[in-house]
Every structure is written in structure tokens, then in C-alpha cells.
């Protein structure tokens, strides 16, 4: 069997059994990168020498029995907003083109401890602001299924790398759909955990109250396995939660009998592409056949989610990104006269247009006199959306919907109309506003051959329900094939 076709968990098992070594796995991935990277451009930074060296060290540890974990020796990719000690971390921005962190993100440390081996850093929308991975200063990533199309975003590099077999799994971050939407566009599995499940320490913040790190994987089993390793309380992150129920792999059961699934009418209405709708409804039918109970309902408040999201995320971003000022690290303009001119030129030159747009939007909504009307109101909407979900989860175990209104758009199509791009987040952002969890599972393709994703949403701390439903669906599909 070709090494590249292994899932992460399968590869780890093969490595443990000795049929494949960690070094061979890394070699296979690096040669795949040599073949496809020029078309896909999933990575911002790849350090082949360091990757091979790390694979060799890991190989030795596996041989001595020091490393036995479910991902030991498996090559992984990390979104370039996750700090990696000694390895350039750019957020796909000119602002951090020369930034080398002194520490690694907590989630990265957890995976490295488990023996996963870093290949490199994946491309993304600049500072995770965008839905297409086109706002990267290092050039856009292309959808491996059709390179004329975008991979989605902002974790587009991670999704494309998994889809193009340029890694065995990847981490992304999800502030308003940034894991689930590219997973859907690239035909892989992506999960946004409950807020507070994965430490944000070392994740370069975009919208702090919405950001979560999560896995992008080839299948649901890999997804549960990676999540289980990265989900842990971290005293360095005050928003981190002490959870006892993080044995996510125990939820990998083919059984949805009696599972109550709610389908929000608001998520299947106007603006949803016909092919996407049919695929997602067909997927729902599969679950129904397996014993789940489907029911339509009105979630309400859907129209308010996008304005609330862009108000909150932009406000937090405008403050989070203030530290990029040319003083301490990162880009500094070449010529300037005095401090304020330095700030102005550095930030004008260092940030791209989408980042500047959101900084301006965020600064505006926080300005004195506007704070109550915008930011405070958005927080109220956020609380109401949470209540709407609470009401839904009083009746349903899981909510089922599309991930995005359409399949991956063509390159260049979205940036010309940012408002349309923002509307593309309509089914995913509410999950971040409510702080709950959601997963994107491949459920077919459109006539152009582009993947379609189904989204499953569950209440806070109910990832296991998502994983069980997703696993059941995935296996039913396999059986059908």
C-alpha cells in the first residue's frame, strides 16, 4: 500500500508494527510535496532538513519503545499562525516575514510530545482574515481538486495539504469557520472544538473570544485522535477549561440510533446552492437510515450572526494586532521620521488590505460614542444566539446543515466583493459566537467535481456526539461505495 494513502492513525500503526518507518513516511511526504506543491502551494515554510532530522530522532525513539502513541512518527503540518520555536511563523503577513518565535504553541507541544513530526507551516489568509487563502502575502493556495479554485480559508493551506497528501494531518484555527469551510472545500474532515477545549497559548490571536485550534484530517478517526491529544487544560490560557471527557476516540462508534438531529430551515433557504443542498439532504437521509431522527426547526437570529461576528472579531483584532508596530519584532519600514511616522509607515506597508479593513472596522466600533451602539450590541446578539442554540439543544443532540452556501469559488472571484465573501460564513460563524463545537464532513461533490461538506453542530462539550454521527455517516458512505 502506498504510504501516502494511509490515514494518520493507519500510518502510526504501520510505523509501530515496523512495516514503515517515520523516516520513510517523511521521505514520502517530502517527495509528494516536490511533485504537487508548485500547483497547490499549501505551505509558507518547509524546512526539509529539520523535518528529516526530526523524523530520524522520532524513528530512534519509536525503535527504543520510548514513543508508542497513536500519532508517533506521523508527519504533520501546522497553520502558520501557530508559534513554532525556532521556525519562522508569519501569519502569511509581511509584518511577520522574519519572525521566529522563542516558544511553541501548547497544542504543538502536545503533538510533538506524542511523536508527530513537523513538516512545515501552511498558508492561510493574512492573520486568518479571509475565507479563501488569497489574502496571504506569500501568494494564494489552490484547491487540490481543481487548481483554478480556492481551497477556502483561512486555514486553506492546512486543508489543501491534507487533501493533496502533502501531510497526514494538519492543525488549523477557526474563528468564524476557518477550519470547517476549507475542510468542506477540500473534501477533508475539520473540527472546531468547544471554546476553551484547546489552549490558545501560542496561537497568534485574531478574535480572541472566538478563536479555537482544531484538526484537519483525512477521516473522522484521525480527527478524534488528534483532538484527543491537543485537548487539555492549560494554566497559561485563562480561557482554557478543565474537561474530564476528552477521550474522544471512545466516541468512534457506528451508532446513531435515536440520535435527534435538528435541521434549521434558516440554513437551507435562500442563497444555498442547489447541488450543495441536495448533497447535504442526502447525507441527512443516510443518518436517518442508520436510525437517527431528523426534524426541521427554526433556529432564528441567523441574519444577525454575520454583523455581530464581524463587529466582535474586528474589534478584538484591532486591539490584538496593535502589538505589530515595528518596535520589538517583525517588519519595520526602512525610512521614517519620528515615532508616529514609523508606526504609520510600518503598519501601512506591513499589513495587507483585508487586515487593514478589519482593523479600521474594529477601531471604529470601539470608538467612544459608538461602543454601545456596535460592540456592546454585538455582544448582546452573541448572548442571544447562544440562547437560541440552548433552546435547540434542549430538543436535539446534533444540528445538521451545510458548511458553506456553495462549493469552492474560482480564484479571484471573492476578493472583488468582500461583502459576498463575508456572507459565505453564514452557516459557520454562529458556532463560534455561541462557543459550541462543529465538524465538517465530506458528503459528495458537485458536477464540477468540487467537494461538498456537511456540518454537524453540537452543544458545548458534546464533541463526542459530533464524532459519533460523523463516524457513522463516514462508514455508511464507505459501505455504499
Amino acid at each position: 500500500m502506498d504510504i501516502l494513502s494511509y490515514s494518520a492513525v493507519e500510518l502510526a500503526a504501520a510505523i509501530q508494527s515496523g512495516t514503515v518507518t517515520a523516516v520513510e513516511a517523511m521521505e514520502a511526504v517530502l517527495s509528494q510535496i516536490d511533485r504537487v506543491e508548485k500547483d497547490v502551494h499549501a505551505y509558507v515554510t518547509i524546512d526539509k532538513t529539520a523535518a528529516m532530522k526530526a523524523a530520524t530522532v522520532t524513528h530512534e525513539k519509536i525503535k527504543t519503545g520510548e514513543l508508542t502513541g497513536p500519532l508517533a512518527g506521523v508527519p504533520m503540518a501546522l497553520k502558520d499562525n501557530l508559534c513554532t520555536s525556532g521556525l519562522r511563523t508569519t501569519c502569511a503577513s509581511k509584518m511577520l516575514e522574519n519572525f521566529i518565535p522563542t516558544f511553541s504553541a501548547q497544542a504543538v507541544l502536545a503533538l510533538e510530545k506524542a511523536g508527530a513530526v513537523l513538516i512545515g507551516k501552511t498558508n492561510m489568509d493574512e492573520f486568518a482574515m479571509g475565507s479563501t487563502t488569497e489574502t496571504s502575502v506569500y501568494g494564494e493556495t489552490r484547491n487540490p481538486h481543481n487548481t483554478a479554485h480556492v481551497p477556502g480559508g483561512s486555514s486553506g493551506g492546512s486543508a489543501a495539504a491534507v487533501a493533496a497528501q502533502e501531510c497526514f494531518f494538519a492543525l488549523g484555527s477557526d474563528t468564524g469557520g476557518s477550519i470547517r469551510q476549507p475542510a468542506s472545500f477540500c473534501g477533508v474532515v475539520g473540527l472546531k472544538p468547544t471554546y476553551g477545549t484547546v489552549s490558545r497559548y501560542g496561537l497568534i490571536a485574531y478574535g480572541s473570544s472566538l478563536d479555537q485550534i482544531g484538526p484537519l484530517t483525512k477521516n473522522v478517526t484521525d480527527c478524534a485522535t488528534v483532538l484527543e491529544l491537543i485537548a487539555s487544560y492549560d494554566a497559561k490560557d485563562s480561557t482554557s477549561i478543565q474537561r474530564k471527557d476528552t477521550t474522544f476516540t471512545s466516541a468512534l462508534i457506528e451508532d446513531v440510533k435515536g440520535l435527534k438531529i435538528g435541521m434549521p430551515r434558516d440554513y437551507f433557504g435562500e442563497g444555498l446552492d442547489k447541488e450543495v443542498k441536495e448533497s447535504v439532504l442526502a447525507a441527512a437521509k443516510v443518518l436517518e437510515k442508520k436510525g437517527a431522527i431528523l426534524e426541521e426547526f427554526d433556529l432564528s437570529l441567523v441574519d444577525y450572526a454575520i454583523p455581530a461576528y464581524y463587529t466582535i472579531a474586528a474589534a478584538e483584532a484591532s486591539s490584538n494586532l496593535e502589538r505589530f508596530d515595528g518596535i520589538k519584532y517583525g517588519y519595520r519600514t526602512a525610512e521614517f521620521e519620528g515615532l508616529h511616522n514609523m508606526y504609520k509607515k510600518t503598519r501601512s506597508e506591513g499589513f495587507g488590505p483585508e487586515v487593514k479593513r478589519r482593523i479600521m472596522l474594529g477601531s471604529f466600533v470601539l470608538s467612544s460614542g459608538y461602543y454601545d451602539a456596535y460592540y456592546l450590541k454585538a455582544l448582546k446578539v452573541k448572548a442571544m444566539i447562544k440562547k437560541a442554540f440552548d433552546a435547540a439543544f434542549a430538543r436535539y443532540d446534533v444540528i445538521l446543515s451545510p458548511v458553506a452556501p456553495s462549493t469552492a469559488p474560482r480564484l479571484g472571484e471573492s476578493l472583488s466583493d468582500p461583502l459576498k465573501m463575508y456572507l459565505g460564513d453564514i452557516y459557520t460563524i454562529s458556532v463560534n459566537l455561541a462557543g459550541i463545537c462543529g465538524i465538517s464532513v465530506p458528503c459528495g461533490r458537485d458536477t464540477k467535481g468540487l467537494p461538498i461538506g456537511m456540518q454537524l453542530i453540537a452543544d458545548s462539550f458534546q464533541e463526542k456526539k459530533l464524532l459519533r454521527a460523523a463516524y457513522t455517516y463516514e462508514h455508511a458512505q464507505k459501505g455504499a461505495e
Binding site: 516558544f103 501560542g202 478584538e316 502589538r323 508596530d325
Partner: protein, 476 residues
């Protein structure tokens, strides 16, 4: 008729809290480290870092709030104050605006005009900024983040003060209360206590407030008094000449003794405050509050009353000793060992205050141990040393905190009580000073003083002067 003006003053006082580590990371708060040695990714604003609140900061702040009779919020939050300046590595300061920890307190102050209540509007927690060092020689600025993230509380008073005396009495009261709590050393000159003065004037009899200015950079009580007088005069002069007072921030220059405008309200920055999403709200449970309340120390007023009851020392001494927490601790601990309040008080009121003044030190800087002072008192009581040797020993004790007994043994300062040796010395002195002997015998009583002195000198000060006197009289 000349118009009469009233000055209205409110203070914003920043106090650096005496925690071992910073407010949002584990770095040391110690003063005086080499630049950027007490730093980590968090307090230098590295991307990806997050703040974690130091619980001790909240406990100190609550203790101060309780001591200043504040209501302690059951739930408070941290907000970000956004502004760009290189001393602030994130370009936002984590502070509290919307839901501060303490509100609606008050303190009683006393001036020559009597007692008065000053309201406390609020107390909130925040982080300090780093320090910019301007290198004129190299024409560049350097930044030291050792202070970045050092915990502060800001105590905001109501505009209840009317003159510099009240302001100073208020600051003294805050200083003493906070020192008693051990929450800060409150040194104005070192910046661990900083006061900004908000001042406006109005005609006597009016009830509305005039336009105020805020005065910064006040590093001593003297500077505060001068700045208040100067600003009052400046505002009155403006009004008298038909001009308006502009709401602005002014900086006091203590050398030139005048202030200049830093920024006016028009170009005041919009700080775009909003709740910091990286920090959770702080919930203060009744149990926690009770624990802190039970740990509150005895404050000065109660202490003064107790001293009056327990110790036979003058009110004046009580006032001086309780003025400093450190001095009163020293007093109580020494008395506990030797049981002689009057003598302990004498050492503190006499030699200790003299040396503090001479060396320009605060009582907080006293380094000697109560046990050693108790031992010194005992050495004098047992006539092991005479009182003049004791004063010399005390000075060494004050400087170096040495065991007085070991010291006098080492230096051979123990009083000579050997009658034979003394007698020999006296005889020698008498033989060497026939003139004085004759004077004494002729009725000049004063001459004996000279002979005692000479004997003491011969004994290198170690003799008991009483014994010398007695022997001289016998032999004469």
C-alpha cells in the same frame, strides 16, 4: 470687592503592589535588575502569548479596598486601554474601566483644621508599563520591560479636598494604611506611589465644579504642595483676566516649579476600552472576602489606643512610633522580648530617629533585629557596658545588624568591674594631675569631673563611671 475662590481637588493615586511576581506572568517584580532581565514572552508582548492573573494582586487590592471602606465587587472585569507607545509592548494596557474591583469608599483625614472625610470613588487593578531610556548621545531610545506588567492599583478619590494640607494628609493616610497592610512600600520618590492631581477652582458659594486640569509628575509632597498652589494661582489668574481654563493634562517641573500643558481634551486619545477577551471575570466569593477581612492587620488608630492602654509611654512617642508600620513592629517585637517599653521607646525616639535623620533614611529601611536591641538594653541594665559605649554599639547595630554581645566581646568593650585595676588607674590619674587634686581639695567640686574623665580615658571608656567616681572620692 475681591472675589474669593475655592480650590477643588481630587486625586488619582497609583500604588505599586508588593507581589513577588508580575500581574499577568511569573516574572520577578524586583527593582533594579539589568534591563530586560525580568521579562518573558508575556510581558514583552510576543505574539501568541496570553495573560494569567496573579491572585495575590487581587488579594492586596481587596485588602486596600476594605481598609478604605470600599464596597468590593462580587464580579469585576479587566478591560484593554488601547494606545500606541513603545513602553507598552502590546500597545494596550490591561486595566479596569467598566467593572472595577472596589467602589464607594472613604477615609478620614486630619489636618490642623480638624477631621474630614474624603470619598474614594473607586480602586482598580492594572499593569505598569516599561521604561523608555533616551540616549541623547546615540540619539536613540531604548526600552526596558522589567517594569512592564508590575501590578498597580489606582485609587481614585472624590473631589473632596480643598487645599494642599488636605491632599498631603490624604496621601499620608493612604501611605500608612497601605504600608500597614504590607501591600506596598509606597515610596513617592521611587515611584511605587504616584499621585496625579485633578484641580479646579470656583467662586466660594457656587456648587458647580469649574473646569479641571490634571497635573502629572509629582514626585514628593513638596512638589504636590507647590503644584497645587501654582495651579490654583494660574487658574484664578485666567478667570480674573476673563479667559477660560482649558481641560488638559499638565506636567509639573519640580526644578523650575511651574507646569506646562501636555495635551488638551481635544487631542485626548480615544482609548477604545473594551473587555479583555483573554481574561475571565474575577468573582470574589463571600468566603474569600471573609478570609481577607480576617487577615487585616491592626491599623494605626487601634494601635495607638492599645499602646496607650498597655504601655507607659508618652502620647508623643506613641504618635511617632505608630506613624510607621515597621517602627511599631520593631517596638512591639522588642518589648515582647525584653518587657521594657519605656527603654525600647527611648532607643527608638532618641538614637534611632537621630540616625535616620542623619542618614536621610525612612523608618522602613531600618535593618536591625528586635532581639539585638533587646540584648543591648539588657547589657546596659546589667552594667556590662555603660551608656556611652551602648550608644556606640547601637550605631554599629543600626548600620550592620550585628549581635551586640558578640560585638562588645570581640572589641573588648565590656565594662571593667575589676576594683584593683580601676584603683590602679585612679591612682595613676591622681599622680599625674596634682593641680586638679589640689583644686578639688580646695573645694572645687568641678575638678572631680575632669578626673573621672581622665580615668575613663585611661580605661578606654570601659569603666563604670559610678564606680570611678566612688573610688576617686575615697582616694581623695
Amino acid at each position: 470687592m475681591e472675589r474669593q475662590y475655592e480650590t477643588v481637588i481630587g486625586l488619582e493615586v497609583h500604588v505599586e503592589l508588593a507581589t513577588k511576581t508580575k500581574i499577568f506572568c511569573g516574572c520577578s517584580t524586583a527593582f533594579g535588575g539589568a534591563p530586560n532581565t525580568h521579562t518573558c514572552p508575556v510581558c514583552t508582548g510576543m505574539p501568541g502569548t496570553l495573560p494569567v492573573l496573579n491572585k495575590q494582586v487581587v488579594e492586596h487590592a481587596i485588602a486596600v479596598g476594605l481598609a478604605l471602606n470600599c464596597e468590593i465587587a462580587q464580579c469585576c472585569k479587566f478591560d484593554r486601554k488601547n494606545y500606541f507607545y513603545p513602553d507598552n509592548p502590546q500597545n494596550y494596557q490591561i486595566s479596569q474601566l467598566y467593572l472595577p474591583l472596589c467602589r464607594n469608599g472613604h477615609v478620614e483625614i486630619e489636618t490642623q483644621e480638624g477631621k474630614k472625610i474624603v470619598g474614594i470613588h473607586e480602586i482598580h487593578m492594572e499593569e505598569d508599563a516599561g521604561k523608555l531610556i533616551h540616549d541623547e548621545w546615540e540619539d536613540c531610545s531604548l526600552v526596558d520591560y522589567n517594569r512592564s506588567g508590575v501590578p498597580l492599583i489606582e485609587i481614585v478619590s472624590e473631589p473632596d479636598m480643598r487645599n494642599a494640607n488636605e491632599v498631603i494628609a490624604y496621601l499620608e493616610k493612604l501611605r500608612m494604611t497601605i504600608q500597614y497592610l504590607g501591600a506596598s512600600d509606597c515610596k513617592l520618590n521611587e515611584g511605587s506611589m504616584r499621585a496625579d492631581v485633578n484641580l479646579s477652582v470656583r467662586e466660594v458659594g457656587t456648587t458647580t465644579l469649574g473646569t479641571r486640569t490634571e497635573m502629572k509628575n509629582l514626585n514628593s509632597f513638596k512638589a504636590i504642595a507647590h503644584a497645587i498652589e501654582g495651579e490654583r494661582e494660574r487658574q484664578i489668574a485666567l478667570i480674573e483676566s476673563g479667559q477660560k481654563v482649558i481641560q488638559e493634562t499638565r506636567r509639573w517641573d519640580d526644578v523650575k516649579e511651574y507646569s506646562y500643558a501636555m495635551r488638551s481634551k481635544e487631542d485626548a486619545q480615544d482609548y477604545r476600552y473594551f473587555p479583555d477577551p483573554d481574561l475571565m471575570p474575577v468573582y470574589v466569593s463571600d468566603t474569600w472576602l471573609e478570609q481577607i477581612r480576617n487577615r487585616q492587620p491592626e491599623f494605626r488608630e487601634e494601635k495607638m489606643k492599645r499602646y496607650k492602654k498597655e504601655y507607659d509611654i508618652p502620647d508623643y512617642d506613641i504618635g511617632i512610633i505608630t506613624d510607621s508600620k515597621h517602627l511599631s513592629d520593631l517596638f512591639e517585637e522588642t518589648v515582647a522580648i525584653c518587657g521594657q517599653p519605656k527603654k525600647v521607646s527611648n532607643w527608638l525616639m532618641g538614637e534611632t530617629l537621630r540616625l535616620l535623620k542623619e542618614k536621610n533614611m525612612d523608618p522602613e529601611e531600618i535593618c536591625f533585629e528586635p532581639a539585638y536591641l533587646a540584648k543591648l538594653i539588657e547589657l546596659v541594665d546589667s552594667k556590662a557596658i555603660n551608656s556611652s559605649v551602648a550608644k556606640d554599639v547601637f550605631e554599629v547595630l543600626f548600620d550592620k545588624n550585628v549581635d551586640p554581645e558578640e560585638y562588645i566581646n570581640q572589641k573588648g568593650l565590656r565594662a571593667v568591674r575589676d576594683e584593683e585595676a580601676l584603683k590602679k588607674a585612679v591612682e595613676e590619674v591622681l599622680a599625674a594631675n596634682p593641680k586638679s587634686v589640689e583644686d578639688y581639695r580646695n573645694g572645687k567640686e568641678k575638678a572631680i569631673g575632669f578626673l573621672v574623665g581622665q580615668t575613663m580615658k585611661a580605661m578606654k571608656g570601659k569603666a563604670d563611671p559610678g564606680m570611678v567616681n566612688q573610688l576617686l572620692r575615697e582616694l581623695l
